[in-house]
Symmetry: C2
Amino acid sequence: MFKIPDHQVAGHQARDGLLGPLIDDSGRFYKPLQNDERGSKEVSFYTSFSSNPRIPDHIHKFFPVFYGTQVLEASDGSGLHPHLVLEDLVSSCLSPCIMDVKIGSRTWYPEASEAYIERCFKKDRETSSLELGFRLSGIQIYESKELGYWKRGRKVVQKLSADEVRQVLRKFVSSNSSGKSDLSPDCAFASMVYGGSSGILAQLLELKAWFEDQTIFHLNSCSVLLVYEKELALKGEFSGAKAKLIDFAHVVEGKGIIDHNFLGGLCSLIKFISEILTSPDECEKKTSLQDYEKNELPSDNGAL
Amino acid sequence: MFKIPDHQVAGHQARDGLLGPLIDDSGRFYKPLQNDERGSKEVSFYTSFSSNPRIPDHIHKFFPVFYGTQVLEASDGSGLHPHLVLEDLVSSCLSPCIMDVKIGSRTWYPEASEAYIERCFKKDRETSSLELGFRLSGIQIYESKELGYWKRGRKVVQKLSADEVRQVLRKFVSSNSSGKSDLSPDCAFASMVYGGSSGILAQLLELKAWFEDQTIFHLNSCSVLLVYEKELALKGEFSGAKAKLIDFAHVVEGKGIIDHNFLGGLCSLIKFISEILTSPDECEKKTSLQDYEKNELPSDNGAL
């Protein structure tokens, strides 16, 4: 009944006998509760969020549906373990392109332990978080039935420069995004995936408007997951592009103050994406960058 | 010809024989260049800003006019010293209410020295910067000809809690703001000063729209100065409410990335101010807070 997700780009993974999330055929995603307070904090967040009357209706679509918690056999064979039961965000996808973007120039927060603050402070400076206001945590781009997916993990993408992030955001919506391609990304699906009244940019702007106002939660170290169906995009059909928030193990109460750290980072991501829409020809001009990336972008497996 | 400004609420002051800014009768403000690189960085910023064709016309009004630099006798009697020559933002004011708000949850930046980063990191956590995304650096409220000004300096206001900041922002636009008053702030001038199409909120929103887009400068450790004429407000005339940016000794190049730290903090300040406009009756309800403030808000001179 339970199986290992095919399309997970970041976070703990249930491979090689480790503890990680599982899915089932009914479209549910089972995320093992972390043993320390992170697990209980994430349960508290989902419980509070799903029943909070101050969350506007139109905001719920940005969060995975929460079905409660369930004890089940852990993926690492260690026995019964409590899991969050969530909507599987890619259960209906056959060829999903997915990007995990951790939002915020700062992943720590005053309520955390000094050890955690020190660790995050260092990491935010070493990765692109401090500079960009966000960092990539993982990406997969569907290429074709034959080639499968181009995937890059956290270690590879979290330290990208601004120019490299621009390149990856272009590659994410391109038809010639094969790792082996010598071409610069053509941004063929930019207007379909990022643009339009229901595209990712419009969704992020809707989210931004809420973050300018909401003072309920501070979403520390939380990610925006960007997803679309590449096969549908290739056919010119609606790609189902969506932005979803995930990972709430470090959420704290807003106490009447907006989450200015999340909001600033979100606005930075919005700016990067809107530049792709307003300067589509940049994709052509940036051949030199593409060359740069081919040579310099480190690869998970040593081959692009 | 040169004299010590009457209405300076933050920063180095030319009193007691110290080095500080001077003004003249022509409406100019002479700010001594700091000897270290901060002085030259501020000159660079003003020079670059005033001649940069990428700054939209309507944005220039948020910055003091820059007239160049001039060597003149320093206020501390130490001899000739180079000064920035700027517009005196309160030269035409007879009874200005002024608030200096340092924007950003983080005042340090990657290019700074480790010693500076460590100092700022500590201070941002000790003051309200980290929590609120900004901290007050000084305030003066005109009360009346007899009572003069209610003033609070940096040390008193930089650590205020969210509730105390709310109270101060209300007091700033109230007719009964006398320090001796037992009344909670009536917010009598809130709609005139903060509200309206030319009020401070509208100005801050215009500034925010620019910060969502501009990737030229990162305004680290910069302040928004809020100013209006209390006597005019008392007469029901246009109060000349304005928001101006000052202090650019730590500006760095944006390098194609928005200033997400400034933007986040600005949005937080905007939220605080907009709440006063949308909940004017809060002023009435918060008597308990006023009581709290009377007892708890530390005073510069030991008497409220």
